[in-house]
């Protein structure tokens, strides 16, 4: 799976190998020889193993995202086809057994349809003769992974599958094997440190602030601040009535998923950190005190303490702007914003508006079904500040469960062993579709620095509760502060002027592959290099499971008898080593020790 195992090609056999690898990779090699008899062998295969044009050496590389799938052949610089899929799985799973069975059935049929289409419509290749590399996110639900394997083996009958970690492959695509990879995708943003091609899975950090959250946030903003001009009821009305008199609030029906996806991918970008402008003292936010904008029920306590109670571990007192961001996101939580909330949000909108020079955009949208009477399309006006500041939701931290993207990276760094921190902080790689937003990576770098560089000024921090003695400010990232000069995002397109810092020379040195494609390109590279994750051959699957012929009973026995855990590797299933008992009682981080033993073995 997540590691790069050398498949036992005859070539690599010649070199000394670990005692274990022989048995592990033995199966694939036997499958290869077995298949050679089946596949119409031509002398061509033997001669041009690496660059065979028609041969079956090139593997199929599938990157099944929760939203967008990338598919192609290994050895190529770009995927053959990219397509979006309806949401196949989510972060939730039903607790009710009957409902869950039903969900699983739907998952199977949908996955199967997509996987079949990959081979038959996109790649036009026979699945029986192609090995497959499946790129998996480390937090891909295991049942989805099992389902993928089951369909590939039993329905499509592929000869072998390798599961490879998307984070590691993304690193390969920039020519490295060590780095801290942040994958900002649709469902989650996941930070995973990788050292010398070994993913440190136990240091993984994740936050649900990602593409899907951005979409819902944009929807909420547009409902409040967007303008919708319905199509004129008649052609004469179009002449007589000015558009401004027809404009009104955006109906929910107009903001379909398609329209929002369009807005997100074609209109949105990420502006610079705003508090620069604020701190330089241009204006204070109009209307009321920005601290009072918080929509959480506030008592008579002063608004500032109110705020710090909500986000005690944040240094945002220095920047009122970022506290405003949290206000907006909370408006989604409220079923319908009260007039007070709206008023405050209006103040926030004014703030952003004042500091945004982005143009408003007019989009042609389909009018809601109830108002189809008009002539033609309606117009949706997306304010410029929403285009620029809608993505603030991703950078707004302070929530313990849903840290900002920058906080996720920093939390991950905090968990990493001390001696690796500097190395990893200076080789951060940002991948994933949401990171494709223009300006995302430079902003993320600024947020990283801002989150740790500014120590919370203890004078500005009010007591936690009135009457209590003042607490020392909780400085969460103080330990990382010496690393600030070293922070570098490998694929930062505008890394700024080369500073004196030693580590940050890495910034911007990565090849210009797009963040969304890095994992796929890495997979393609791994395939071309004949490496990639642990390969599971179909023979192995078949002997553990039922005979594929008796498909009708496969489902039951799957639950009862077969444990795919033995066949499909996953880091969550990796057994703890049954090595020698420790001299003293097991240390608390038994898993970590296990990991290290494993690495060293």
């Amino acid at each position: 799976m997540s590691t790069l195992a050398i498949p036992s090609t005859p070539r690599s056999r010649t070199s000394p190998s670990a005692p274990g690898s022989a048995t592990l990779t033995g199966a694939p090699s036997s499958s290869r020889t077995g298949r050679a008899a089946v596949v119409q062998a031509s002398p061509h295969y033997q001669t041009t193993r690496r660059h065979s044009l028609y041969g079956t050496e090139d593997r199929v590389v599938i990157d099944p995202g929760s939203r967008i799938w990338k598919v192609g052949f290994s050895g190529e610089g770009r995927p053959r086809e990219v397509f979006s899929v309806p949401s196949l799985w989510s972060l939730q799973r039903s607790l009710d057994t009957i409902q869950r069975e039903e969900e699983d059935r739907v998952l199977v049929v949908r996955l199967q349809a997509h996987l079949r289409a990959v081979f038959h419509d996109s790649l036009l290749t026979d699945p029986k003769s192609r090995k497959v590399i499946v790129i998996e996110s480390p937090l891909l639900p295991v049942h989805v992974k099992d389902t993928l394997a089951k369909i590939l083996f039993e329905n499509l009958q592929v000869p072998s599958i390798s599961f490879a970690s998307s984070h590691l492959l993304a690193l390969l695509s920039v020519g490295r094997i060590t780095g801290l990879v942040l994958d900002c995708g649709e469902l989650e943003s996941t930070a995973l440190p990788i050292f010398s091609s070994r993913p440190l899975f136990h240091q993984i950090r994740t936050t649900p602030l990602a593409g899907a959250r951005l979409t819902s946030h944009l929807r909420a903003l547009l409902l409040l601040f967007g303008t919708y001009i319905p199509p004129p009821t008649s052609l004469s009305a179009a002449v007589n009535m000015p558009a401004s008199s027809r404009s009104n609030r955006v109906p929910l029906e107009v903001l379909s998923d398609v329209v929002l996806e369009e807005i997100k991918t074609r209109c949105t970008f990420v502006g610079e950190v705003l508090d620069m402008a604020l701190n330089s003292g241009i204006v204070s936010p109009p209307g009321e005190d920005p601290m009072d904008l918080d929509l959480l029920p506030s008592d008579s306590a002063p608004s500032e303490s109110d705020f710090s109670r909500i986000s005690p571990d944040r240094d945002s007192n220095a920047d009122p702007a970022s506290s405003d961001f949290s206000v907006v996101s909370r408006s989604q939580v409220l079923p319908g914003p009260s007039s007070r909330g709206e008023h405050q949000l209006q103040a926030l909108a004014n703030l952003y508006m004042r500091h945004s020079t982005a143009t408003d955009l007019h989009l042609k949208v389909l009018p809601p079904a109830s108002q189809q009477a008009g002539t033609g399309h309606g117009t949706l006006i997306v304010p410029g500040w929403i285009r620029e500041r809608g993505s603030e939701v991703l950078f707004e931290g302070g929530d313990v469960d849903e840290g900002s993207v920058a906080e996720t990276i920093l939390d991950c760094l905090l968990k990493i062993p001390v001696d690796l921190r500097k190395t990893l902080a200076s080789s951060i790689l940002v991948t994933g579709g949401t990171a494709m937003l223009p300006g995302f990576i430079p902003r993320l770098h600024a947020e990283l620095i801002r989150a740790i560089a500014t120590p919370p000024s203890s004078s500005a921090r009010p007591p936690m509760r009135p009457g209590r003695p003042r607490l020392p400010a909780y400085d969460r990232y103080s330990i990382l502060r010496p690393l600030v000069p070293y922070f570098a995002i490998l694929n930062n397109p505008s890394p700024g002027p080369p500073s004196d810092a030693r580590g940050s020379t890495n910034a911007g040195k990565a090849p210009a592959y797009t963040p969304a494609m890095m994992a796929w390109v890495g997979g393609s590279l791994a395939g071309a290099l004949k490496t990639g994750g642990v390969e599971v051959a179909r023979e192995k699957w078949d002997e553990t499971g039922d005979h594929p012929g008796s498909v009708d009973t496969a489902e039951e026995s799957d639950v009862a008898g077969r444990s795919p855990a033995n066949v499909i590797p996953d880091w969550t299933r990796a057994p703890l080593p049954t090595g020698a008992p420790p001299a003293n009682p097991p240390p608390p981080e038994i898993t970590e020790t296990a990991q290290l033993v494993v690495v060293g073995a």
Partner: protein, 494 residues
């Protein structure tokens, strides 16, 4: 809506018994008859050129001739010659050339008027355009960078064939199975956390030189991402006036290389090839339908589960189904086999829906099925298929005047209503409960028996798992269908 029947094919599903008809997965388990079959040959949908399967892969699954799609509207592009040179003194020459046109040629979209000169693509000759563009593709930055990456990793992989990149999982495997406990104990002891000592185990072979813990030399990118277009993209987005200036996601998502967002920079796309699919049974691999060939009878005969045509007629009229009512319906069963068959119908027992989905929350009510279906209990015959010219007169073919059906018109609704040629119409009845809601859908098990003297019969039977050997010659097949009689039950108002 029109009542429908969908078929459940055990070959296509992992379960021999279909899911309850009202669950969402039901719609995936049942198929209209024509979908029940299952690849052979590739062609370009535009020029209809048949591409040999050997070159499909090399040509990137795209048409390698002159077929391109417009990057804006996906219309097919046509190759047009340039306007003749606009020069007065060449007037006579120009008029000659305008009839044939001259180089350079370019691609033009007849729909949105996009042309390839916008992105500086022109051609010397109007044929083999893909080949002319190939040099651009070969020189694409992502391909060159990819080759460089390969060269970067290859020596490293060779050097550390099993210890370097092989990673911890493979090591884990070897550890659990092949390292003896003493070695394990040693490594475990060595790996124990000691304050002040590095946590990672030293790299094997002591190739850990200062400054490069990766054990791999620094990779120098051919083109670094710094200085690419992203910064200008932010500016461009900020000043954007018209959405159409930004390329849509679908227009740029196959690019693995950082590009501008401008839609004006999009390049023409080669048309993807299509495949013609053979419909074949996934279990027995027997080809059922080949493209360009009509499905012939042997194929229909082969697919035991799919070959029972049955049509439903709902006689309840246009007023819809009302709660508390009783409605008759008819099923027409057609036998495509050359042998007469005996058919038996059974309604699959309704599995009560999960109580959480019951609207009124009362478990008692939820458990009671919302409607009851009555079908003829006994087996009834359906005559063998015969070609139209084999019937002696129209009456045999189109029904009427059958002696066995003397009870037609007696007000009876359940039972065999009509027999003509190889079609038998049976009546059924559905009684809808007073509190019923939702669609009237039920799973129906159809089993049929015939006497086969077909020597190939054994092969047929193998494909259907639900075979029962009673008499060597008698063959029984069963398959599930889902019958949808109507969309909604109209609630009863008292």
């Amino acid at each position: 809506m029109t009542p429908t029947i969908y078929y459940h094919c055990p070959c296509l599903s992992t379960d021999s018994i279909p899911p309850p008809p009202n669950s969402p997965s039901s719609s995936y388990s049942f198929h209209p008859l024509h979908e029940l079959f299952f690849f052979s040959g590739y062609h370009c949908p535009n020029c209809l050129f048949e591409v040999p399967s050997a070159s499909v892969r090399a040509e990137k699954n795209r048409c390698a001739r002159n077929c391109f799609m417009c990057p804006n509207c996906r219309n097919t592009l046509s190759v047009v010659p340039s306007d003749p040179p606009d020069a007065d003194d060449l007037r006579s020459l120009a008029s000659n050339m305008s009839t044939v046109g001259g180089p350079p040629f370019f691609l033009y979209c007849n729909y949105c008027r996009w042309d390839s000169t916008e992105v500086d693509i022109t051609f010397e000759k109007p044929t083999g355009l893909a080949a002319q563009l190939q040099k651009f593709e070969d020189a694409a930055p992502e391909s060159l960078e990819f080759e460089r990456l390969k060269e970067h990793f290859e020596p490293f992989l060779r050097a550390s064939s099993s210890s370097g990149l092989s990673g911890h999982l493979q090591a884990a495997h070897s550890h659990t199975t092949h390292i003896n406990p003493i070695t394990a104990a040693a490594s475990s002891a060595l790996a124990r956390e000691i304050s002040g000592v590095a946590k990672y185990t030293p790299a094997p072979r002591g190739r850990r030189d200062k400054g490069s813990r990766d054990e791999i030399s620094e990779y120098r990118s051919r083109v670094e991402v710094a200085g690419t277009k992203d910064a200008s993209n932010v500016d461009f987005m900020r000043r954007l006036e018209d959405v159409s200036q930004v390329a849509a996601l679908a227009q740029r998502w196959t690019n693995s290389w950082t590009m501008t967002l401008h839609s004006s920079d999009l390049r023409p796309l080669r048309i993807p090839l299509h495949s013609k699919k053979t419909k074949r049974c996934p279990t027995c691999r027997h080809i059922l339908i080949k493209p360009e060939q009509k499905a012939h009878h042997d194929s229909a005969r082969q697919h035991g589960a799919g070959n029972r045509q049955a049509a439903v007629e709902d006689t309840s009229g246009a007023s819809g189904l009302h709660a508390g009512g009783t409605y008759p319906f008819q099923l027409a069963l057609t036998n495509p086999l050359y042998d007469p068959i005996q058919v038996r119908l059974a309604v699959q027992r309704q599995i009560p829906p999960p109580s959480s989905s019951a609207p009124d929350g009362s478990p008692e009510k939820a458990r009671r099925p919302p409607f009851a279906v009555s079908l003829p209990q006994s087996a009834f015959p359906v005559a063998a298929f015969a070609e139209a010219w084999e019937y002696e007169d129209d009456e045999d073919m189109f029904g009427g005047g059958d002696d066995e059906l003397d009870w037609i018109g007696n007000g009876k609704t359940i039972g065999v209503l009509e027999r003509r040629a190889n079609v038998t119409v049976v009546g059924g009845e559905v009684v809808i409960g007073r509190d019923a809601k939702g669609p009237v859908k039920f799973n129906m098990l159809v089993s049929y028996t015939y006497r086969s003297d077909d020597p190939l019969g054994d092969e047929d039977v193998r494909t259907t798992p639900s075979r029962k050997d009673k008499v060597p010659d008698m063959k029984t097949f069963t398959f599930y269908t889902v019958v949808d009689l109507g969309d909604e039950i109209i609630p009863r108002f008292s």
